[in-house]
Subunit: 190 residues, 2 copies
Amino acid sequence: MQLLKDRIIKDGANLGGGILKVDGFINHQVDAVLMDACGQELASLFKEIGADKVLTAEISGIAPAVMTARYLNIPVVYARKTKPITMPETVYLTTAPSHTRGTMTELIVSPEFLCCGEKILIIDDFLASGSTIAGLARLTAAAGAQLVGIGALVEKVFEGGREKLKGLGVPIESLAIISNMDDGKIVFSN
Amino acid sequence: MQLLKDRIIKDGANLGGGILKVDGFINHQVDAVLMDACGQELASLFKEIGADKVLTAEISGIAPAVMTARYLNIPVVYARKTKPITMPETVYLTTAPSHTRGTMTELIVSPEFLCCGEKILIIDDFLASGSTIAGLARLTAAAGAQLVGIGALVEKVFEGGREKLKGLGVPIESLAIISNMDDGKIVFSN
């Protein structure tokens, strides 16, 4: 998606070590109009798969997931990292390594909102190592729901997430695919 | 806003102790179409105030804030509760009591994205005790920005937030205003 790639070149920063700073338009400050366009594009890419629900992880997955869901006219569920008091006692919980913090993060979904037989489209801001998305896929399986697709705004190919997730056997789409961030570069392969 | 009030009656639950469970459509599972309509309504209520930016707090403020910002054609900044590695060393930080957890939460904004002279509209999912919104107002003041309005999806009048925030001297709008949750009831005053 040219609009997103142009914005990454204009306002993103390669901090080294594979870290892409996009907090001016994706994950601290959000360009709501750009996010709307990204949601529309992701919805268009997945319009034929018949998803019943979008699943994402708090925090930075929420904006792209809600925008995608709006265009698909379906609800979003965002996995919580802590269990609120409004959630039932028994939940689906998995753990995933946090890429940028070096810790394990819990991903928690209420069984009220992830149900047997539902077709689930996972949307997140980044597809990097694939650990968070793999965790969301495990929650989907735990609920007896059916994963039907995976979409991300930005993919870092060199972190191997797509390889890791390939075994799930569903289409994987990313709007901006970065193949190389060596030496301060940001090189796209799409 | 009738659509939101109807949904609260249909799918919300009064858990007692002033706790309203709306995690089927606002803050775990999100009805993206309803959220879009709420964003449009909040944008319409604040269209004359000339806001440059929407400010909210992660996590559950993100969906309504992004939808409101989209209709106002301005960016959103969401205050983080932990400082990511992509954020500068020096930040604006304030603490606010977490209503549902009984702990103190940090609210952190990068000076890159909250600037002197900007007109700030605060949007959150709940206006209850007003503590989170008061924290966001302190961050706004710390940055030398100007608060111009406060909007929420759901207000619980009996927790006194509006009284607490009145001194800020800006318009406060909530789409569903609940005046009484005693004895399992949910009574609106708007």
